[in-house]
Symmetry: C2
Subunit: 454 residues, 2 copies
């Protein structure tokens, strides 16, 4: 989507070649594709064709097949892999960088991942195990432990020679410089290395003031560092400032996308690990709890309405107009919530300026409430034929939009202070809150001034 992407053409060819059983041509086509494109082809194929295509590719070019596996969503790749015995899997995992291997192995059933790690070559299995020992979503978990580092005592010429002999190090563009005990002491860009004479010592040309992440740093914080300082990679150090890994900008892009998805999903009451083709059964299971919470809060709102049932009994038009107050409050709250949650995620909302944000949102709430309340009041007056009815509607809207603005600002800020993800202040909660307050304000005012309404 757009309709005619290059990948769609590849997809159609794959299906055709599979159907006519032209395996040689099929493999030829697959091997010309980027792993990311292969992953997309796999995702779109029906389960049976996917299985057969994957088996074919794995047999011929297991490296490429495993690279494609790294790019797939867990619910697509796990079923493909679990069919293979642990010793074959172990061999396949040795073909990909250990950070990618760790991410995939982590999704496998526990017994299978344990056997795979047991059979893998010692060095690789240790690396993967070491990554998996770090908590989820930390720098230590997503870093690549194969980092290219050189001793500070080398010269530029020796460094270039070392670089020429290095194999399998991921996307080198910074050379990290370490002391004799592997403490990180500086960084040199590849370009800088070219600009100096070969006998220059690294110590003289390195930048000692460099941005690092600790193994325990949250991946979102790592992404913010890389993004704000325009880095291509960030070195990861342990508690003693020893260099243990590197996170490259391509991994950071994945983190940024995942975190944005997570925020968008949470605000809408969707689990962050849900995916467009999560099975219907799984999606239902994941969404039901949120809707269950919503049912409870919606019942609460309904009970508020029931409190005022006798008022509605006297002025039945209230039933129609109370929905306007609630709906406006919900949408205004969603607007405020979105700006605040995104402001926190982008690091723009801080402690020092949160009061300013509150005052601003409150003013916007009162302003919108007044303008929209006036319009709504005129309409209600016209329909119901009673100016007081309109006045009560307007007043309830101002109150509800103010409450909406304050709640939608304070709740995410409070959650953040408690180190809970502010996106969990999802519109599910906020909109029911504004329902409850909207009904309460409107029907409460109507009860108070019932003599003007009947």
């Amino acid at each position: 989507m757009p309709p005619h992407r290059r990948i769609d053409v590849v997809f159609d060819s794959v299906k055709r070649l599979q159907r006519i059983g032209a395996t040689a041509n099929l493999l030829n086509l697959l091997q010309k594709q980027h792993p990311a494109d292969l992953a997309e082809v796999f995702s779109e194929l029906p389960a049976r064709e996917r299985r057969s295509l994957f088996d074919t590719l794995l047999e011929r070019n297991s490296r490429l097949a495993m690279q494609a596996i790294s790019e797939l969503e867990p619910e697509v790749r796990v079923p493909l892999l679990v069919e293979y015995p642990a010793d074959e899997l172990a061999r396949f995992f040795q073909e990909v960088p250990s950070d990618d291997a760790a991410a995939v192995i982590d999704d496998l059933p526990d017994t299978l991942s344990a056997s795979v790690l047991e059979v893998m070559r010692r060095k690789e299995s240790d690396e993967v195990q070491h990554l998996l020992d770090h908590p989820d979503q930390t720098a230590g978990r997503i870093m690549n432990p194969d980092v290219f580092a050189l001793s500070e005592d080398l010269t530029a010429g020796e460094a270039i020679a070392a670089l020429q002999q290095s194999r399998d190090v991921e996307m080198v563009f910074y050379l990290y410089v370490v002391d004799e005990r592997r403490h990180l002491v500086g960084v040199i860009s590849l370009r800088r290395l070219l600009l100096v004479s070969p006998e220059t010592s690294l110590k003289r040309i390195m930048t000692a003031d460099l941005t690092t992440a600790r193994v325990t740093t949250d991946q979102e914080e790592v992404a913010q560092l890389v993004a704000s300082y325009n880095l291509l990679a960030i070195p990861v150090v342990d508690d003693e400032n020893k260099l243990v890994g590197v996170i490259t900008v391509d991994d950071v892009i994945d983190v940024i996308k995942d975190e944005a998805t997570e925020d968008i999903y949470r605000m809408a009451g969707v689990s962050s690990d849900e995916h467009i083709f999560t099975s219907a059964r799984e999606s239902l299971r994941k969404r039901l709890p949120w809707l269950g919470v919503n049912l409870v809060t919606a019942i609460l709102a309904a009970l508020v309405v029931r409190l005022f049932q006798s008022t509605i009994d006297q002025v039945v038009a209230l039933a129609a107009f109370m929905t306007i107050v609630a709906s406006m409050g919900g949408n205004a709250a969603t607007q405020t919530l979105t700006v605040i949650v995104r402001g926190i995620a982008l690091g723009e909302l801080t402690w020092s300026n949160s009061r300013k944000a509150l005052v601003k949102e409150a003013m916007v709430g009162i302003g919108n409430g007044t303008i929209l309340g006036f319009v709504g009041a005129c309409f209600a007056w016209w329909v119901v034929g009673n100016p007081y009815f309109g006045g009560i509607l307007a007043l309830a809207m101002v109150i509800n939009l103010l409450i909406a603005a304050v709640a939608a600002t304070l709740i995410p800020i409070a959650l953040r202070a408690l180190r809970i993800d502010p996106a969990l202040a999802s519109s599910v909660f906020i909109t029911t809150l504004t329902d409850v307050f909207g009904f309460f304000a409107f029907l409460g005012l109507a009860t108070l001034f019932i003599e003007y309404l009947v």
Copy 2:
């Protein structure tokens, strides 16, 4: 936020040094900061202090001041710049890369930006003007025209020599290779250049199969290319495949963040150019139209309720329970909408699999509707004391959750087909739609079976 970031310490020091007028110390501190950090300090200062700090820094280190300006939001930087005469501004803009200059100049008032471009040195002003000639959000607009390219006839040794003499080219890590008429013919990584002997011809070691963007390519598509192929930069070519610029991964990160913000905002009915500290007046102006649309649709929903006013008059409990049907539909729709819109944005939902998505969402809708409807029905039976009342509530919930799922899947897909941003199918519209259908289903069924309810 977290409370004690390094930048907060800098911020406090800046305020203290400003207050006691210690300008030399202040400048010293500022010049040690990264432009991104300076931008954050500027954002958080009150307008007067910001102005004075910026003037101080600009006078001493205009390059750093302008780099910080590039990182600021438009509503913060424009007021800082408009105070300066055009000829001074022109001089300042010459200090930053032309893509950054173009982005800032574009935000200035038209007469000022025209005078600035007139006074700038010919080469820079042409470059900026050329960028601004490309439509917003295209590769041509955000690329850096200063791209490092070499003739295919050179050797590796000559290429290294050329690189050593180059100045002011942004973050070189790929060398682009062009023919005598500047057509892009290949790419070589800096690392590869180091690995071959100096007399090797570039033609022999370059990769001819490379991913490019056209000047007209949408920035979101550029970001998807860079992200899926793990690129550090992507060359931009014109209609004749001539190399005209490069987009680096740091710019792509900005695009990814902006596009995510835009999607999140649009879905909530917030303008994509709104920002956490947009003034209250401006925010009100930007949000009011969305809420105005919501008012109209909410009035529609209220009119649906009024249609059934005589039914409510007979069974007033309907007024309380109708809000449950509407609220559940709204939240279920938001869940589906979010998954679909994000799936489109991440390129996972395509033409070929959209039917599958529809079937899945419909099944989830029916499933959730049945389970939650059953719970809601039991509760309603218990409160109202009439099993038929509960049955009608359950049936209305199934119908409304099914409609919610189908609408929230089809509307964004249809918008995408019409080349309209699917995120515009914001929850504002969808939730009112589910309000209307929810009220209609519940009150309609109640009217149909009124004899069982009274």
